[in-house]
Symmetry: C2
Subunit: 228 residues, 2 copies
């Protein structure tokens, strides 16, 4: 499903080069709940961005669903993302000029040509599942931090993607709201075989993982089978 | 130190009025670690904004350090904040055109007229204490989520404020980074008698609290003495 071979990622800052990822080797085959953990700054978001086709490695190859995504043009990457992926951003990235409902509707219109009544059914299903149906007409600036986070979650899931990249999806949520999200993801894994790759500091999510990769300073320093 | 009397906060949305806070009564006297907990959307950020003079109640009074802050003009509120308060925002609110060092330096220049070498000592002290001294020349767009959060923490503390409002200050942090922050705050309470009011979902922070207020749907539904 996801494969990384000899992947590195450097950021150039004037004369200096920051090595955000060093010599990454990953092979995610049939596991559908994979979690990356590690200290702040260890490279989790950078790694998710490479798998999610939002960025390219400095060297090495990234395969998703058989496609060498590091070779795609920007246009092809956007198309690939729209078709197969869902991305929950660490800072949400909601469109400020769209309401909750419109933000979640956006990927359905942009990429998937779904009829209006079918769209509405789907959007309301996911808004209900994450507990923010009553916020559907508000703009992001009128939402609490955890409400924005849940809009980001609903938007990533509404297209029923093959693979969801979730960057700290519960960071701003209380216990109960977090469990709603986890339950929704469990249900999608069961019913649609959706695969999830998390970057997280939340032990509630790590507990669900089948495989846990530990990152430190841009390197993978550990890989273990989850308790679930 | 902080007193709220019959405070309400409504947000008007066209014809509808959202009651974000209803009939809030709070008296925080000598406790220096107070935590607000409650579900996403229950009103924690709204409450912190009122105490931190960033917003005004729809009715009722808010007293901080004896001053009726709900009666201050915008200019007076800004001055009051600069003199007594530190605020850690849920979404960080870093200035994108300033580096880490400059973001933390900002309140020292704007409000407190501290000499250059004394400023440098202080800034480096707090950057070290939260673990991001090596990120001092980067811009916010070049930082990880948890690094941005720690810049926000350092900036709020660098002026040695009387009262710190911390809105989910550890949401994006791993265990060890979160404990660095908690330890720094404990030390400031001990050495400077700094008072802290948290809004948080993090049990590590709630464990430190002397008083825990529970919010639900804009109301205070519980108040208990902390375990510490
Ligand atoms: N400008 C606004 N207009 C309308 N409603 C608002 C506005 N700002 C906040 N609200 C609503 O007020 C309620 C309380 O918001 P608040 O941000 O205080 O919650 P919170 O407890 O901090 O939540 P979280 O844990 O998710 O950060 C929410 O239901 C939110 O949607
Ligand atoms: N555009 C950039 N330029 C320079 N350095 C960068 C850039 N983007 C990220 N970095 C650095 O790369 C490292 C890894 O960042 P990344 O965002 O992947 O960390 P993370 O594991 O997601 O951290 P967190 O848990 O805090 O979110 C960090 O040290 C960060 O400062
Ligand atoms: Mg990150
Ligand atoms: Mg909040």
């Amino acid at each position: 499903l996801v494969e990384l071979k000899q992947v590195t990622k450097d950021y150039r800052m004037g004369e200096i080069s920051v090595q955000a990822l060093k010599d990454i080797e990953i092979d995610i085959d049939k596991q559908s709940f994979v979690s990356f953990v590690g200290p702040s700054g260890s490279g989790k978001t950078t790694l998710l961005n490479l798998i999610g086709c939002l960025d390219k490695p400095s060297s090495g190859e990234v395969f998703v669903n058989g496609t060498a995504v590091n070779t795609l043009s920007n246009k092809e990457a956007a198309q690939f993302r729209g078709q197969y992926l869902g991305f929950i951003f660490q800072n949400f990235n909601l469109l400020p000029v769209l309401t909750t409902y419109e933000n979640v509707e956006y990927p359905l219109i942009m990429v998937q040509n779904i009829k209006a009544n079918e769209r509405k059914k789907r959007i309301m299903h996911y808004l209900d599942a994450v507990g923010i149906a009553d916020q559907k007409d508000k703009y992001p600036s009128q939402l609490s931090g955890g409400q924005k986070q849940r809009v980001a979650v609903a938007r990533a899931l509404v297209t029923d993607p093959k693979l969801v990249l979730a960057d700290e999806p519960t960071a701003n949520l209380d216990h109960d709201s977090a469990f709603k999200i986890i339950e929704l993801m469990r249900q999608m894994k069961r019913d649609f075989k959706t695969a999830f790759i998390f970057s997280t500091h939340d032990p509630k999510i790590v507990k669900e993982a089948e495989i846990i990769y530990t990152l430190e300073d841009g390197k993978i320093v550990g890989k273990k089978i989850g308790a679930s």
